[in-house]
């Protein structure tokens, strides 16, 4: 078992038994589903909107070469820079070098999961730059020195009281649990950062190919402050975030916000296409877009799982996932949590280390049902499982168990005899009071549940009797 798998099991056991945690997530998810329900009714046909969004992403992902080059050309025409990073290291180095060359001391960051993926903040901090997370949720988890709990709502696991306590300790002079006052306190700290920062780093929700612009969605306005006030703006994104046309936003924006939070449209939607123009009064002097591959091209080459690149990072599958709601975001030990993370991470960081995530699912299919771009997520979890078996990533004992299973089930008489023997043995063992003990043959089951009553007879024995009586 990989070290990541061991850590996952340890953390999953702790979180699964943590009733307070379950309750906090339940409350958050209850609110989400209420808004989502309302949000979907704003569409004449939500299912049709999903199909349209899927078609847009399909076209983009299957013509990535064309649309990315088109995007690059337009950005360059306006005096922006595009950097193609093959991996995290290249992306980090490019940004650290930019900051060094530009005499940067302070960086303001808006939400970017790709920045998390390549561990950008620690890299910048390691070189002495001060980095401020400006999304409120990200700001909170940064103060706690934690990674985001959820790709859309990073502080989902915290209550208002938790945040009040944190601000009291870390921000100084604040002692309240009123949401308005807490937000105001964060705002004061962040406004100062916005005005001092020389570099703003943002993520990207969509790379709009024909316009050569990045589309940025936030609820707090931090995205556009961070991309217009500092001297340098760096946008970092995975290559799969492209969409062909500006008009596609008419579908993608409301679909993203509905799936993400249930909002009709998110509060701030910004398009940025280059540095400050000649006649413009604000905006950055430099505009850089870092296009990160980091394993995505390999996924693109995999016809069976290519559609995983359609993901628009709305977080709907996390909220819908009963496993996520039981174990929480940190247990995954990955940048992307929940179903999309379990599907994607083995591709980005190796099947050997992360195949366990694809098995840590009941394959209930709720993720595929809610995905706004209709990725067949639970099916891809199944494909990852098959690939793990094929790659010899499973234990000897499991492989033997399935050989024995197959052998038994190929022979009805052996199945019937072994079933009879097994039931007799279990009835004897349970008669001696061994249920739930260390020698219980159904230990894997009875660790958590009562054993089912073991019947003396099988259905087929009843059937034989009836047939004989006819």
């Amino acid at each position: 078992m990989s070290s990541a798998a061991q850590e996952f099991l340890r953390s999953a056991a702790a979180k699964s038994a943590d009733l307070r945690h379950r309750q906090v997530l339940r409350r958050s998810v209850d609110t989400y589903f209420t808004s989502l329900g309302t949000g979907r009714t704003r569409f004449i046909d939500w299912q049709e909107a999903r199909r349209k969004a899927q078609a847009i992403k399909w076209e983009a992902v299957n013509h990535l070469d064309k649309y990315l080059l088109q995007f690059e050309e337009r950005v360059k025409e306006r005096g922006g820079h595009v950097f193609w990073a093959e991996n995290g290291e290249q992306a980090r180095n490019y940004i650290v070098d930019l900051a060094t060359a530009g005499g940067v001391r302070t960086v303001v960051k808006s939400k970017s999961m790709v920045a998390e993926e390549i561990h950008l903040t620690p890299a910048l901090e390691g070189k002495g730059f001060k980095v401020w997370e400006t999304d409120l949720g990200e700001f909170i988890v940064q103060l706690r020195d934690e990674p985001p709990y959820h790709i859309v709502t990073p502080a989902m696991h915290l209550t208002r009281q938790d945040i009040a306590q944190l601000f009291k300790e870390k921000l100084g002079g604040i002692d309240t649990d009123e949401p308005e006052k807490l937000v105001a306190a964060a705002r004061v700290a962040l406004r100062r950062a916005f005005f001092t920062a020389e570099m703003g780093i943002s993520g990207v929700n969509f790379l709009v190919a024909d316009a050569g612009m990045i589309a940025l969605t936030t609820n707090e306005g931090n995205g556009r402050l961070g991309t217009s006030l500092p001297r340098i703006h760096v946008a970092i994104t995975g290559i799969e975030k492209v969409i062909p046309r500006l008009e596609d936003l008419a579908v993608m924006w409301p679909v993203l916000s509905t799936a993400g939070t249930g909002q009709a449209v998110t509060c701030y939607n910004t398009l940025v296409g280059g540095p400050r123009g000649k006649d413009e009064v604000d905006g950055p002097e430099e505009f850089h877009v870092v296009l990160l591959d980091n394993g995505r091209s390999e996924l693109l080459a995999d016809a069976e799982q290519r559609e995983v690149l359609h993901c628009i990072r709305c977080g709907a599958c996390l909220n819908a996932c009963p496993v996520y709601r039981a174990v929480g975001g940190h247990t995954y030990g990955t940048t992307y949590q929940g179903p999309i993370g379990s599907v994607l991470t083995p591709h980005l960081r190796g099947l050997h280390e992360f195949q366990h995530l694809s098995s840590a699912s009941s394959l209930c299919g709720n993720c595929s049902e809610v995905c706004p771009v209709r990725i067949d997520l639970h099916h891809h979890l199944l494909h990852n499982r098959r690939n793990a078996v094929k790659a010899g990533e499973r234990s000897w004992s499991e492989r033997m168990a399935f050989k024995a299973f197959r052998w038994t089930m190929m022979h009805p008489s052996w199945f019937a005899s072994l079933g009879w023997l097994g039931r007799r043995a279990l009835r004897a063992a349970y008669g001696l009071g061994l249920e739930g003990t260390a020698v219980d043959p159904l230990r894997a089951w009875t660790k958590e549940r009562a054993a089912p009553p073991i019947p003396p007879r099988s259905f087929r024995s009843f059937w034989k009797e009836r047939r004989g009586a006819d």
């Binding site: 009963p322 039981a326 098995s359 078996v389 089930m409 009805p412 199945f415 059937w463």
Partner: protein, 243 residues
């Protein structure tokens, strides 16, 4: 009397024979005589879902051979029906059995689906004077798209009060080998489900899937809950108290 073949999931055969017997009774009341092909074993889903497709494939081929001669197949499990109808085509892609498997998939029905959509019999003369909540099993709901069919049948049962629990569409946490490999997550999901059923004051949780019910029942008993589980076929075969 019209005839159908009965597909009894392997673990139901061994652990819940009463569900099989009640399925026979329900089919009889609907006007069908059932045949049980004795060569049947397992559809192969445990191996398939755990990733062992090479071990699942011969079982799928075997299943197709056993059931191919029958015009209609009925199964008291949405999950095992799903395996045949939805997953065999992919598992057997490129094999000689593929076309037969696809064809057979269209003739295999989950019990409530068969009664409502094929037999068009919802009134089966059952009585079950209890407060019951229906758990939407994942495969019945999201793979076979059965939401109203089992509820329609339950509404026709004399004395039965059908109550909806919150998050009835959420997975109970069984998930096959998941239940053993990640038992703590499985148990947490089951615990949530059990709490939701208790919360609406149900006496019984019912469903189309014996595996979900075995898991939920085990969790309920560990919680010392008064709530019990019962398979849909058992309710539909029930002639009422004292009869």
């Amino acid at each position: 009397m019209a005839r159908v073949a009965l597909f009894i999931p392997c673990f139901v055969d061994q652990l819940n024979p009463e569900i099989g017997l009640d399925t026979l009774e329900v089919l009889r009341r609907a006007g069908y005589e059932a045949d049980f092909p004795e060569d049947q074993t397992c559809c192969g889903q445990p191996a398939f879902n755990t990733g062992y497709w090479n071990d699942a494939r011969p079982l799928a081929e075997r299943f197709v051979r056993v059931f191919r001669p029958f015009e209609t197949v009925v199964c008291p499990s949405g999950s095992c029906t799903t395996m045949v109808r939805n997953f065999y085509p992919e598992l057997l892609a490129g094999t000689a059995m593929h076309a037969d498997a696809e064809e057979l998939g269209r003739r295999v029905f989950e019990l409530s689906e068969f009664l409502v959509k094929v037999a068009r019999r919802t009134e089966l003369g059952a009585a079950f004077p209890h407060r019951v909540t229906y758990h939407d099993s994942c495969h019945s709901l999201r793979e076979l798209h059965l939401k109203q069919e089992p509820r329609e049948l339950l509404r026709r049962v004399r004395g039965l009060e059908l109550v909806e629990m919150p998050y009835s569409e959420d997975c109970c946490g069984f998930g096959g080998t998941f239940a053993a490999k990640f038992h703590m997550i499985s148990a947490a999901m089951g615990d949530t489900k059990a709490g939701n059923a208790e919360g609406v004051g149900a006496e019984f949780v019912t469903s189309t899937d014996p595996s979900c019910l075995m898991h939920i029942e085990g969790i309920l008993r560990r919680r010392n809950s008064p709530v019990r589980t019962i398979h849909l076929a058992r309710i539909l075969a029930h002639a009422g108290d004292g009869q």
